[in-house]
């Protein structure tokens, strides 16, 4: 058996260690060690999980633990994992470790910086392992607040504005989620005399369609804001571009996935009939986000803004996969979450490295970086290639899974939506190559750049780790699909059962 609480305990211990450290080196080492332990732990979890499944344990969630937290309101600390959450946790572990390595040189308020980053990771881990709606919400909040501080203290540009915008918009999302959770809780309390916030327990209850249709928008939009649902995405471009490198990596790499995961795990899983009823709206918004995001990216001049808008577009794929409600598409959505998390973290890492050296992110001012700082240039190009869906990297497999899954939805509307989503990969190629061609290739933009130092060991390690994972998924997607296949099947069966019964 595996003790999932370790994923909560270790970040706390790391945070304490960071707080008691004396100097920068100690702090970095403490934070780094903590993240390495987390990574090893998540691999161990994967190993235990697969061997448990291999022995034929087909329970939906494994390694569950529960403890009553607040009896009167039936709030429980209830954790457990399935394949999807393990995939997300491994993503978190990798991105957090890469983020810590990328911020190795942070000089101002080092202690506070690493403390907040670790707090964020605690929120993310807690969110992914929670099976109790309230615990989930608790950890979600924990993953929002530190972002505000990270941006406002270590950010760049219009950081006060961006930090406030991001925090407020995400908080609005949380508020909607809270309303949704309470509605679910009180509904089953009144109608069924069952007081629980346990996901699996609620999922098997059949809510009346009207109730589902009422509650669903709260949960879906609430989580949707986190994953840049159109039109509530504007926190993303400003927030991403003002945030320091590690925070951008975390924000785009993990935080946006909290939303996607929540949409799938809470909104769609608990309220399948409403999901099917609202399916066309989700698909519509997703396609708008995909197309609109990619065209908006095309017009950006700042590398970070560019990547933020492209994240809007790529997260649209996640929502598209969820909205299509076919097993393949949902599997694709989960893969896209993992893939986009890694890819965008790599992207922001590369942009951070460029910005740290050249002090500009304007595409027009850069140029010829491949010659001066070849390692960073190559990292940027690789991130770009992953983003435009090159086979052999994770972006391709997840996008293709979504497209194939979406195509299973008949009807002119869904077909057109799928074709439009496919078309966006052309626009993606245009903006990626435009930026890479101008900033990374071509003649050297500025004489000053000739003296730039290439990546340091920590930056190299972080990039190699992310690239390695991306390529690993891209070359051998079967291990990821095997991990999540059974669980998408469970979600799908719940949807189908609900639709059959109604």
């Amino acid at each position: 058996m595996f003790n999932l609480t370790l994923f909560i305990v270790i970040p706390i211990l790391t945070a304490i260690a960071v707080m008691v450290c004396r100097n920068g080196t100690q702090i970095r080492l403490a934070a780094f060690t903590g993240s390495v332990v987390q990574l090893l732990l998540s691999f161990l979890l994967l190993y235990y999980y697969t061997s448990e499944r291999a022995t034929g344990n087909m329970a939906q969630f494994l390694f569950t633990q529960r403890a009553i937290w607040y009896e009167a309101l039936h709030i429980e600390y209830h954790v457990g994992v399935d394949g999807i959450s393990i995939a997300m946790m491994m993503l978190t572990a990798i991105v957090v470790m890469a983020g810590i390595l990328m911020s190795w040189k942070i000089q101002t308020l080092t202690k506070e910086f690493f403390f907040l980053v670790i707090l964020l990771s605690l929120g993310a881990y807690g969110f992914f392992i929670s099976l109790d709606l309230f615990t989930m919400f608790f950890f979600l909040e924990l993953a929002v607040i530190p972002k505000y501080l990270l941006i406002i203290l270590w950010g760049s540009g219009r950081k006060e504005y961006s930090a406030m915008k991001l925090a407020l918009m995400l908080m609005a999302g949380s508020a909607l989620i809270l309303v949704g959770i309470l509605a679910v809780y009180f509904h089953i309390g009144q109608e069924r005399w069952v007081h629980t916030r346990d996901l699996a327990q609620i999922a098997v209850m059949q809510f009346p369609p009207d109730v589902q249709k009422f509650i669903f928008p709260f949960l879906f939009v609430g989580f949707g804001i986190f994953t840049a649902l159109f039109p509530f995405y504007t926190w993303a471009p400003d927030g991403h571009s003002s945030a320091p490198t590690a925070a951008s990596m975390f924000l785009a790499g993990i935080s946006m996935k909290l939303g996607g995961y929540g949409c799938l795990r809470v909104a769609v899983y608990l309220l399948p009939q409403a999901a099917s009823y609202y399916s066309w709206i989700i698909v519509l918004l997703a396609v708008i986000a995909i197309i609109y995001g990619s065209f908006a990216t095309l017009m950006q001049k700042d590398l970070k803004y560019m990547n933020a808008y492209s994240s809007v577009s790529h997260c649209g794929f996640v929502l598209l996969g969820i909205g299509m409600l076919t097993r393949t598409a949902i599997m694709g959505a989960v893969m896209q979450m993992v893939s986009h998390g890694l890819m965008t973290a790599l992207f922001f890492g590369a942009i951070g490295m460029i910005y740290e050296r050249t002090h500009t992110r304007q595409i027009e001012e850069l140029g010829g970086l491949l010659k001066v700082i070849p390692f960073i240039g190559v990292v940027y190009v690789i991130a770009g290639l992953c983003s435009l869906g090159l086979p052999g990297m994770s972006g391709f497999v997840s996008e293709m899974t979504i497209f194939t899954g979406s195509w299973q939805c008949t009807g002119m509307f869904n077909r057109v939506a799928t074709i439009l989503a496919c078309a966006s990969i052309v626009v993606t190629a245009v903006y990626i190559l435009r930026a890479a061609g101008r900033a990374v290739m071509g003649p050297i933009g500025n004489e000053k750049y000739l003296q730039l130092p290439d990546a340091s060991w920590s930056e190299k390690l972080a990039s190699v780790m992310l690239i390695g994972t991306i390529v690993c998924i891209g070359m051998a997607p079967f291990w990821l699909t095997k991990l999540i296949d059974a669980d998408t099947q469970t979600i799908m069966e719940n949807i189908l059962r609900n639709l059959r019964l109604s």
């Binding site: 065209f295 908006a296 393949t328 391709f396 496919c422 190629a429 245009v430 290739m441 050297i444 079967f478």
Partner: protein, 658 residues
């Protein structure tokens, strides 16, 4: 009989050398990366030659009755979409894939050897060989695919290797622009391919080639496909036309052809490998791969293939007559010749006599790969010597470059279709197939044959005759493949560059005698190919006329070309400007995509959506500003509120009760 291990090694060896050179090449063996790559390709070539020998000598194929059955060597589930749909990675041997692996490894080997001399002294030589290995791997994976999604994967991978190699001189804006253009245009076409795959896979319920072909071409099973229609065409036709659109993108068919001439910014050996012999025929290959479906279930889609091919072949041949950059002439010539292969497939039937087109197309693919690679490598040798791509800087080079001259001449004769060189035979079969199926296409092919002879000898005379040789190396500074080259030894070229030229030259002479009818046919049964001397009189005479015209105009220095150009004034200018297709594209991207879509979207984003989000925030804080005044902290104010509230409630109470 076929051991999966060594067949798998054919593509995997370049794959390993890609990783090896890519990861360790720069730091561990910067000098020897090129030799490692070449050695690996050599082994790969030997293996594929062996497989080909084995495959074509196995004799009758038993159950299917076909001489050359399809053999799945292995097939591994790579990504399971749903119980019936999965991407498999596997190796399928049949006559066309075996032919292709031989061509790919052979041309790749020649290019590897040639590049040893040509790219000597380049700064990033190990990157160059790394990308070449990546390309060879992807191309081999493409031709050996068992699954339509597998072909799409490698399709994209060849696209990216082409992108990397065109942009090899990444410091030059022109090279970067060309690589972008190539990638984006083929990507756009691949969108069609992708949607085509989705359509085909949805209706045939599989991604596997064998099952797909069986399901789609069996009338009982393909009922759905033909019934369900959109805009008057069946789903199957849409699927096939869209797949062909992807092929047209890679194969630079009109209107996707514009990337190929620009792709000549890449190093010349790369042009020989990717943009002449192998990658650009991928479009022909995909049509050939799905040929049973095209010909049996959907002749309409095949007509599209035929018309596009025929039009492109003529169109590109006309442009080729006016270009002055020797690589661009060759690029348009490639487009034109691929058009030949396309329309040969388009006019073909599935079995028996009408299936001549299929065989002819594959035959031409084979011979063309040889002589076009030779032409490009020859051009590379010339550019290496002259340091310029422009015809104006050449002339009279036959003395200085004797070996190049002879081999180039052989290739020119081959492409012009002069017997007994290889191009003559394959072109002959294509024209025969066209004659039997569609007279209009036959005449287009015939005219194109004459124009082909003209432009290729225009090139030849301009390079090797025309004027007296210019002072050595006085080409302008804007040399494409610029690197310091010292010709101290007095020998024309390094021996590594001469060997491939000579080998390809010999092959361009003898390749035409290959018994293709016995080896490669649409349905695997041998096809008797008859050679009809009477039929070949017209094409050969026309080709000779083309050569003679070229000699008159360009054999010696005179003002006839200018007069001819002046006589054809408007038409000449249009052809020189490539019929303004580039401008159309520029208009679409600049004006339509950037200005009419991108800008409004960006404006909408900042001024509508973001503004409203900000406004929400502002109105909330404005509201709080109003409410804040209520909480002034003065006791007097509160007393007034209390009294006022009490009175208000009192009145309310009285009002309700009364």
């Amino acid at each position: 009989m076929f051991n999966p291990v060594y067949i798998a090694l054919i593509p995997l060896l370049p794959f390993f050398s890609f990783w090896l050179i890519g990861l360790a090449g720069r730091s561990l063996f910067p000098k020897y990366g090129s030799y490692a790559g070449t050695l690996v390709i050599l082994v790969s070539f030997i293996l594929s030659a062996f497989v080909a020998w084995q495959y074509f000598t196995i004799g009758s194929g038993g159950m299917t009755g076909a001489m050359h059955p399809q053999i799945i060597v292995f097939n591994y589930t790579w990504l399971q979409f749903s119980p019936s749909l999965s991407i498999n990675m596997g190796i399928m041997l049949d006559s066309i894939s075996v032919m292709m692996i031989v061509i790919v490894t052979f041309i790749s080997l020649m290019v590897h050897i040639f590049s040893l001399g040509y790219m000597k002294g380049e700064r990033n030589i190990s990157n160059y060989y790394c990308f070449l290995s990546l390309f060879t791997f992807s191309m081999l994976g493409l031709v050996l695919s068992t699954n339509i999604f597998q072909i799409y994967i490698f399709w994209e991978l060849v696209g990216i290797s082409s992108f990397l190699l065109i942009g090899f001189y990444y410091e030059k804006p022109a090279a970067v622009a060309a690589s972008k253009k190539a990638f984006i245009i083929t990507r756009f076409a691949d969108l069609g391919f992708l949607i085509g795959i989705l359509i085909l896979s949805y209706y045939t319920k599989t991604l596997d080639f064998q099952t797909l072909i069986r399901n789609a071409s069996t009338p009982a099973l393909s009922g759905d496909l033909i019934k369900s229609s959109f805009l008057g065409f069946s789903a199957l036709s849409w699927g096939l036309v869209l797949v062909f659109a992807g092929g047209a993108g890679k194969s630079a068919m009109f209107p996707f052809h514009i990337w190929l001439p620009d792709a000549m910014e890449g190093p010349t050996p790369v042009s020989a490998l990717i943009h002449a012999a192998t990658m650009v025929v991928a479009g022909v290959y995909i049509v050939a791969r799905l040929f049973p479906v095209y010909s049996m279930a959907c002749p309409g889609a095949l007509n599209v293939v035929a018309c596009t091919g025929a039009f492109t072949s003529l169109f590109a041949a006309i442009i080729a007559c006016t270009q002055t950059d020797i690589k661009r002439v060759l690029a348009y010539s490639t487009i034109s010749q691929i058009g030949y292969m396309m329309f040969a497939l388009g006019v073909s039937g599935y079995s028996g006599e009408p299936s001549l087109g299929f065989t002819a197309s594959m035959f031409h693919l084979f011979t063309h790969a040889n002589f076009k690679a030779l032409l490009f490598l020859g051009a590379g040798a010339i550019i290496h010597y002259v340091h310029s791509n422009e015809m104006g800087n050449m002339g009279g080079l036959r003395k200085a470059l004797p070996v190049t001259h002879i081999t180039f001449l052989i290739a020119c004769l081959a492409i012009a279709g002069i017997p007994p060189f290889s191009g003559f035979f394959s072109k002959e079969e294509i024209l025969m197939a066209a004659w039997n199926a569609n007279k209009l296409i036959y005449y287009v092919g015939l005219i194109t044959a004459a124009i082909t002879a003209f432009y290729i000898f225009r090139l030849y005379f301009n390079i090797f005759w025309h004027t007296t040789p210019p002072a050595h190396g006085n080409g302008n500074e804007a040399t494409r493949d610029s690197h310091a080259r010292k010709n101290k030894s007095g020998r024309e070229l390094p021996v590594t560059m001469l060997i491939p030229l000579i080998i390809l030259g010999i092959l361009s002479v003898v390749a035409g005698f290959a018994p293709f009818g016995k080896l490669i046919t649409a349905n695997g049964t041998p096809l008797p190919m008859t050679f009809q001397p009477l039929f070949s009189i017209a094409p050969v005479l026309l080709a000779a006329a083309g050569i003679y015209t070229a000699y008159v105009l360009y054999g010696k220095e005179n003002n006839l070309p200018q007069r001819a150009a002046a006589a054809l004034n408007g038409f000449y200018r249009a052809a020189y400007k490539k019929f303004y297709i580039d401008e159309v594209y520029l208009f679409i991207t600049k004006k339509v995509i950037f200005h009419s879509i991108g800008k409004p979207v960006a404006w909408f984003d900042r001024n509508i959506i973001d503004r409203n989000i900000d406004r929400t925030g502002e109105s909330v804080s404005g509201l709080s500003f109003v409410i804040r005044k209520l909480q002034s902290g003065k006791v007097q104010d509160y007393a007034i509120y209390i009294v006022g509230g009490a009175v208000g409630i009192l009145f309310l109470f009285l009002y309700i009760t009364s």
